[in-house]
């Protein structure tokens, strides 16, 4: 914890650290770490699956009672389904909310079709029930409340919720640890590289990204090479002024004119294409 405090304080003092190489390295590293994490995760997942498999098996183990229940439920369900075919009208009313989009105006015929379909479904359902007696326990498979199982569902989320909140001190400690180890790694890597470079007699030159710092980030005062750049700019503009304007020669004007026409033409073509697409999408029918 102290360390992170230090870290932050260091920021306040205007010590400048050069960490040009850090970025490259860091990215590599994070890649590695990600890959590692991924593997771990996968492993964990498979584990989870195993566990859940067990649970399922346990459930299937004591299905004798379950099956009874299921059978009863199934019966009830069948009744429900039969009852439900009748009030199709009702369900239609619900449909008004949003499902109209497909049915459009030819309601009646569709309704009939729907009825038929419903009937068919019910029929096939019945066949299902009669034929696949073995499958019964699969229908309306029962989920436990999961209160004893921390790997899935509500219990897992609650556990995670509490695990994620170990208190400010612990969290700060974690961040400190992370930053320390992170820095150590960086340091090590830097050393390694230096050692490598020294071995071969080479120095590593790293491409510097971004513009050169010309202003101090805190005060906004121009630093370093700001002035020369401005001067260079000045020179180039002066040079430019001496160059010939773009519309000096007649051929330039002609070309510009032609370009304009071509542009207009292409825009026109584009418009035409667009309108064709719009026509295809029936955007011109105001009713």
């Amino acid at each position: 914890m102290r360390n992170s405090e230090l870290d932050i304080k260091r920021m306040k003092s205007k010590k400048k650290r050069r960490e040009n190489e850090v970025q490259v390295k860091n990215e590599e590293e994070s890649h590695e770490r990600n890959a590692g994490a991924g593997k771990k995760k996968r492993r964990r997942e498979t584990k989870n699956n195993d566990e859940s498999g067990e649970v399922v098996r346990v459930n299937e183990g004591n299905t004798s009672m379950e099956v009874e229940k299921v059978k009863k439920r199934k019966k009830r369900q069948r009744k429900e389904i039969v009852a439900k075919t009748a009030p199709v009208e009702e369900s239609d009313q619900f449909d008004d909310g949003s499902s109209r989009q497909k049915s459009g105006k030819s309601n009646k015929s569709k309704k009939d079709k729907k009825k038929n379909r419903m009937k068919q479904e019910v029929a096939s359902e019945r066949v299902d029930i009669q034929v696949e007696t073995e499958k019964q326990e699969e229908d309306a498979y029962c989920l436990s409340s999961g209160d004893e199982d921390c790997s899935k569902g509500m219990k897992k989320w609650l556990t995670e919720y509490h695990e994620n909140r170990p208190g400010l001190k612990v969290l700060q400690q974690r961040i400190d640890d992370f930053i320390i180890s992170h820095e150590e790694k960086l340091e090590e890597e830097k050393k390694e590289r230096e050692a490598l470079a020294a071995d071969g007699g080479w120095t590593v030159v790293v491409h510097q990204r971004g513009r050169k710092k010309t202003t101090d980030p805190e005060s906004g005062i121009a630093v370093g090479s700001a002035v020369p750049i401005a001067k260079v700019d000045d020179i180039t503009t002066k040079k430019k002024r001496r160059e010939v304007g773009v519309d000096f020669y007649r051929f330039q004007k002609r070309e510009a004119h032609m370009n304009e026409i071509l542009q207009l033409q292409s825009k026109f073509e584009e418009d035409k294409k667009r309108i064709q697409q719009l026509r295809a999408a029936r955007k011109f029918r105001p009713y």
């Binding site: 409340s145 569902g153 994620n164 418009d271 309108i275 105001p286």
Partner: protein, 1051 residues
């Protein structure tokens, strides 16, 4: 070459496409159909025996209700039957493909004095009755129905439907209109004469200008049609201009009705302009359209009356008298009939306003105006802010003094309602429009007029500024002004109060006190009071469309928005405390609210939680004390420092370290509870929870500068999205002040999106931007001032916007420069370029550009995708249609309103239902879901380890600290479940309601590329039931049941 190019600018191209689509070209088959039908009509008329005795017995009810004293004649066949109207000038505009024919009533059937006392009207009707009887027996005619001429019940016409039909004109019919050419002496029908003896006041007769004009109109029909035919003959452009005008007017149902425009009047106005050389042969149709609208909207001539004949001089006195009798006077070329005698004053000002708005569109948006003018439906139900429907079925008050005198009783009633509302609402409204359609075709007019009140009377009100519209006190006349006080008291009844005001004035007044969050109901109360008092209507017959959807925004009976001021106050305290923190190395320089609740666009802005206070509990703990609290996002910025690390991982970690420090400081200095995880820090203050986030500008600068590669964007995602959020928040905040309706409309829209399970498809910010678009680019409408109108327009915008081919640019204060617009256009082209052939998978499917996001990266880059958008559009369209119906048609059933927010489950492959009592905020749930299709795959028991409310034991325990510690911050099982599912089941697409719905819809995702499909072949082949079981397993303790609705098709 240049000329050709300019001639074919996009607008012209679009207009010519529109004409192709709409203009019914008279093909040979259509001509034949018309000719056949007309000759069939001729034949059956020829079968009528000459000299047939016709008496009032044919239609006793009609003759009685119209008040005619004599009506017998001997039938004689008409001497003249000709096609007229739009067919004769070749300007039929689809979909209305009716053809008019004129049928001249023979002079022999009428007496010289039949212009008196509605005798003409009675005989006219009896004549048609006879014809109808014979037409019905013709084999080539399938149906004959009554209709009325421009909704004037005393002037019925016949609609004749032929037995054969062609596909070009599926609902073809012929309208038979009788004319009365030279039946009567024109001078007898002078506007200042009385021709209805019953019309008198205190013994002296009153002039009957409308009645007279009603007869004069029939007398001049033939000539006027001949005149139109001559003007339009051989002038294709004029006919096309007429079609454009018709299309324009039909999209505006408030001006294309009986008391305003119709096709005939548009043709007349066009030919007026042509004869007065305002339109000439060199003009293109669109130009004529523009000239006509300009004439309608801006011409000063309307105030003096329009006269066709230039040479005939009319005395100034006559002009004045004409204008006094009618608000609009357009005198035809031959007689001196006013062709616009039906146009009412309010209708005409409405028309002028529409014309001006359209001209504005044309001037402002160039070719983009095409959609606004010709294809956007500016109908009654989307145009106004407040709607009233009066059910007047069987209400005798309407015709207590007879059905027809000078004017018809329905028109008089319209006027009465209009005047009452205008007086009662005063400057709260911009305009009041009252329309009562009477003639539902197919009614049997023979029995009289008493059935003509079946349709409801509809009133549309445009509100003026919200400060005026929702004013609490109306100040009337001073107490000294006796007469005015008396009048005021008479109008308001017991509602009038004598009050003393702050400036010392003592005056009559009306007070409509109410809570802040029900201010939008003030108008409703006034209307109800006025109508009940003056029209002796019962309240059940008055339906007002204002608050029907408010139920979806209430939380425990009140609108949670009422806590908004309190919340803002708390936020200010938080800001002050944050800024004053000393024991953190960098000072906090900037605090900005990001959460929608802090700009009143959240559906459920939180109420203060009694356990989230620093000291003690804020008030007594109720039985239903929630065990969860939603945090509100707040962004902070720290003062600059050169010592930030340079790689993203460390930056984020450093941010967390800072946040922990800040939280700790707040906790130790102010006793605010701080709840932290590795990624976020939440602090609790006065009943609210705030999640703090740090925006680091440097990381952002890296992204924004040119070096940002795809990779960099990904790496610095956190800061970039935070930046977008902050820009968005401040932009939206700017809308609240000028548009008070914005907040409620957004909330309704969000509620709709969520209840149709689109939470994953449409981000909250996207909804806010879409609604913002409605407000900043309101043309061709006026800015919406009510939640329901705004909501309807939102649905229509979603359904009708051309998402594939147009970017939506939300330009808040006109602050986008042309170069910005060009940049947006280029970005849009780029996004659509790769998909020239295939428009199925464009991304972003919804291109939303703002000043802070010109490439639509912020909110819609990944969702909705084309498939989701398609679904959204379909849902929006059907909801919009339903809402339109609910506004205009008589449905007092509140269930139908709920249907707008109830989603059907048959559009999903499978549905997961959750335990409603395990949702963190069970009261946010609108309706408990029920699935009655498909079969149940799994059922689950509820977990006992979580409850959204504290148990009674906990509450009784009185150990406050313990309770406070138990309060869970930002615990949302639904979100956690969805994340788990997304990780584990990649082949399933999830649809859910993040606001607190208890259902998750599942569809099998087949959108993946072929390669992916091959990879997951094994997965795909997995039987859906076992997948669903897995889905159920993943939400143990939360899932109530899993239903398989559709078995996936094998492809």
């Amino acid at each position: 070459m240049m000329e050709e190019l300019t001639a074919l600018d996009p607008m012209t191209l679009k207009v010519s496409e529109l004409l192709k689509e709409v203009h019914l070209q008279t093909s040979s088959s259509f001509t034949k159909l018309v000719e056949d039908t007309v000759s069939a009509i001729r034949e059956s008329i020829n079968q009528i025996p000459e000299g047939l005795e016709v008496t009032a017995k044919e239609a006793r009810g009609f003759v009685r209700d119209i008040g005619a004293d004599k009506a017998e004649f001997k039938f004689k066949r008409p001497s003249y039957i000709e096609v007229c109207g739009s067919y004769s000038i070749n300007s039929i505009a689809r979909p209305d493909t009716g053809v008019d024919i004129l049928l001249r009533l023979p002079k022999e059937c009428f007496n010289e004095k039949d212009y008196l006392n509605h005798r003409y009207h009675a005989k006219r009707f009896l004549y048609l009755c006879v014809i109808k009887k014979f037409l019905k027996s013709s084999s080539s005619i399938s149906k004959v129905e009554w209709s009325t001429f421009q909704n004037e019940a005393r002037k019925p016409v016949l609609l004749v439907y032929p037995a054969n039909n062609i596909s070009e004109a599926p609902e073809f019919f012929v309208r038979v209109i009788p004319t009365a050419k030279s039946l009567f002496d024109v001078s007898r029908l002078d506007l200042r004469r009385n021709n209805i003896r019953a019309l008198n006041q205190d013994g002296s007769t009153l002039p009957s200008p409308r009645y007279n004009t009603s007869i004069l109109e029939d007398m001049s029909l033939e000539e006027n049609n001949e005149f139109l035919r001559k003007t339009f003959a051989g002038w294709k452009e004029l006919g096309e201009a007429l079609i454009l005008l018709k299309v324009w007017a039909r999209q505006r149902s408030s001006v294309y009705v009986h008391d305003c425009l119709n096709g005939f009047l548009l043709a007349i106005i066009l030919s007026y302009l042509a004869t007065h050389e305002k339109i000439n042969k060199t003009m293109r149709p669109l130009q004529m359209f523009r000239v006509t609208l300009d004439f309608i909207g801006n011409s000063k001539l309307w105030a003096r009356g329009l006269y066709f004949h230039k040479n005939v001089t009319i005395t100034k006195e006559d002009r004045m008298k004409n204008i006094e009798s009618f608000p609009v006077f357009l005198c035809d070329a031959h007689s001196s009939t006013n062709l616009t005698y039906r146009i009412s004053k309010s209708a005409f000002s409405e028309l002028q306003e529409e014309a001006v708005i359209t001209l504005q569109c044309l001037g402002k948006f160039g070719d983009g105006a095409f959609e606004d003018i010709f294809t956007t439906n500016v109908d009654f139900s989307s145009k106004y802010d407040h709607y009233i429907r009066l059910n007047l079925k069987g209400s005798k008050e309407v015709y207590s003094s007879g059905f027809c005198l000078d004017d018809e009783c329905w028109r008089l009633y319209e006027k009465q309602v209009h005047d009452l509302l205008s007086q009662g609402l005063g400057d709260r409204t911009k305009s009041v429009r009252v329309i009562w359609r009477n003639s539902s075709s197919g009614c049997s007019l023979e029995k009289g007029f008493s059935t003509l009140d079946r349709e409801p009377l509809i009133v549309g009100i445009s509100m003026s500024t919200p400060e005026k519209a929702f004013r609490v006190v109306d100040i009337g006349p001073d107490a000294e002004d006796r007469d005015a006080v008396l009048k005021f008291r008479k109008f308001w009844g017991e509602k009038a109060e004598l009050r003393r005001f702050q400036d010392g004035r003592i005056a009559e007044s009306t007070v409509w006190e109410t809570k802040d969050w029900t201010k939008h109901l003030i108008l409703k109360r006034i209307v109800e009071h006025v109508l009940v008092r003056h029209l002796s209507l019962s309240e059940t017959n008055i339906t007002q469309i204002v608050d029907q959807l408010d139920f979806s925004l209430l939380h425990g009976g009140t609108d949670p928005v009422s806590f908004f001021p309190n919340l803002l106050g708390t936020f200010e305290i938080l800001e002050r405390r944050l800024r004053s923190i000393e024991d953190v190395p960098l000072k906090i320089s900037h605090v900005q609210p990001l959460d929608p609740a802090l700009r009143s666009t959240s559906v459920f802005p939180p109420e203060p939680h009694p356990l989230a206070n620093e000291k003690g509990s804020g008030g007594k703990l109720s039985k239903l004390t929630s065990s969860c609290i939603q945090p509100l996002e707040v962004m902070i910025q720290l003062e600059g420092s050169g010592n930030w690390p340079k790689d993203d991982v460390t930056i984020q970690k450093t941010k967390s370290a800072f946040l922990l420090k800040i939280g700790e400081s707040l906790q130790s200095n102010w006793g605010m509870r701080c709840d932290a995880t590795e990624d976020e820090v939440v602090v609790l203050l006065s009943g609210y929870a705030f999640r703090l986030k740090i925006l680091h500008e440097r990381a952002l600068a890296l992204v924004n500068s040119g070096i940002a590669t795809q990779r960099a964007k990904r790496v610095f995602g956190a800061d970039k999205s935070l930046f977008f959020e902050s820009q968005h928040a401040s932009m939206i905040k700017g809308l609240l002040k000028p548009y008070p309706a914005y907040g409620p409309v957004v909330r309704l829209a969000k509620r709709w999106v969520a209840s149709h399970l689109f939470s994953a498809s449409l981000a909250d910010e996207t909804v806010e931007l879409l609604v913002a678009y409605l407000f900043v680019k309101s043309l061709p409408f006026k800015t919406p001032c009510s939640r329901i109108t705004g909501f309807l327009r939102f649905l229509r915008l979603l359904a009708d916007y051309d998402w594939t081919f147009s970017p939506m640019v939300i330009d808040m204060k006109d602050d986008l420069s042309p170069s910005d617009k060009k940049e947006i256009e280029d970005n849009f082209r780029l996004s659509r370029k790769g998909y020239a052939g295939n428009m199925q998978n464009i991304s972003p499917a919804m291109f939303l550009a703002t000043s802070y996001d010109k490439a639509s990266e912020a909110w819609t880059s990944s969702s909705p995708n084309s498939m989701e958008l398609k679904r959204l559009i379909a849902y929006a369209r059907s909801s919009a249609n339903l809402l339109t119906k609910l506004i205009c048609q008589d449905e007092s059933d509140s269930l139908r309103w709920e249907c707008l927010l109830r989603t059907p489950f048959n559009n999903y492959d499978a549905v997961v239902l959750l335990h409603g009592d395990k949702l963190p905020f069970p009261r946010h749930l609108l309706f408990p879901s029920l699935v009655n299709q498909g079969r149940v795959v799994a059922r689950g028991n509820a977990s006992k380890s979580f409850s959204p409310f504290f148990s009674s034991e906990d509450l009784r325990g009185r150990n406050l600290q313990k309770l406070k510690d138990k309060l869970m911050v930002d615990f949302d099982p639904l979100r956690l479940y969805v994340t788990d599912l997304k990780r584990e089941f990649s082949t399933v697409k999830l649809w859910y309601d993040a606001l607190g719905g208890d259902a998750i819809g599942l569809t099998w995702d087949r959108s993946g590329s072929k390669k992916r499909q091959r990879d997951e072949q094994e997965d795909e082949e997995k039987d859906p039931v076992s997948i669903l079981k897995g889905v159920g397993e993943a939400g143990k303790g939360f899932v109530k049941s899993v239903h398989l609705v559709k078995v996936p098709k094998l492809t």
